[in-house]
Amino acid sequence: GAGVSQSPRYKVAKRGQDVALRCDPISGHVSLFWYQQALGQGPEFLTYFQNEAQLDKSGLPSDRFFAERPEGSVSTLKIQRTQQEDSAVYLCASSLHTPGLETTDTQYFGPGTRLTVL
């Protein structure tokens, strides 16, 4: 596709339910990022993939959060036993190249998944 797509766009979960959020990055993009955006805040980094390798998961708030990208394209962010504080917009972004210390690349964002935990 032309851009990053995410599904579902909206998800309502009861507290304690597991949810899975999907991201389809731009075809051929090596890097994939997940961000969490709480209401009224800027996005905050969750995790980073380079192809299928999860190289940085320092932003995941708890061990209830798990992300994967098994074939280096589509990624899934899974949240187990959802809590009310997990309510947020989850944004996925992809970029073409491998990042480095001396260079960077533009990240292209999907529309996000708005998760509401009741």
Binding site: P43, F45, L101, G110, P111
Partner: protein, 114 residues
């Protein structure tokens, strides 16, 4: 820790007026700076970016930004605002950790009066 500050949470301007949104970054030998816009229910759209070179950067929709290293600033400007510019604007810097994750400011919500 590296951070991005957007001092103005909310700004209101009249249509046709000029606009300046402020952004300050904390530090960085080589800052890579971005401005994104987010309309309600939408993802983040890139307006412009600064990597190196000319400190005045042109973007889409008539926006520009000026990088000033001495002031650690990267302010966004537009000479004449349109009603469709009403949205939330985010400034971002790249964390110098080799993975280049983005650090965002808290955002500035722009309202445009007719």
């Amino acid at each position: 820790a590296q951070s991005v500050t957007q001092p103005d949470i909310h700004i209101t301007v009249s249509e046709g007026a000029s606009l300046e949104l402020r952004c300050n970054y904390s530090y960085g030998a080589t800052p890579y700076l971005f401005w994104y816009v987010q309309s309600p229910g939408q993802g983040l759209q890139l307006l412009l970016k600064y990597f190196s070179g000319d400190t005045l950067v042109q973007g889409i929709k008539g926006f520009e930004a000026e990088f000033k290293r001495s002031q650690s600033s990267f302010n966004l400007r537009k000479p004449s605002v349109h009603w469709s510019d009403a949205a939330e604007y985010f400034c971002a810097d790249t964390l110098e950790d080799g993975y280049n994750k983005l650090i965002f400011g808290a955002g500035t919500r722009l309202a445009v009066h007719p």
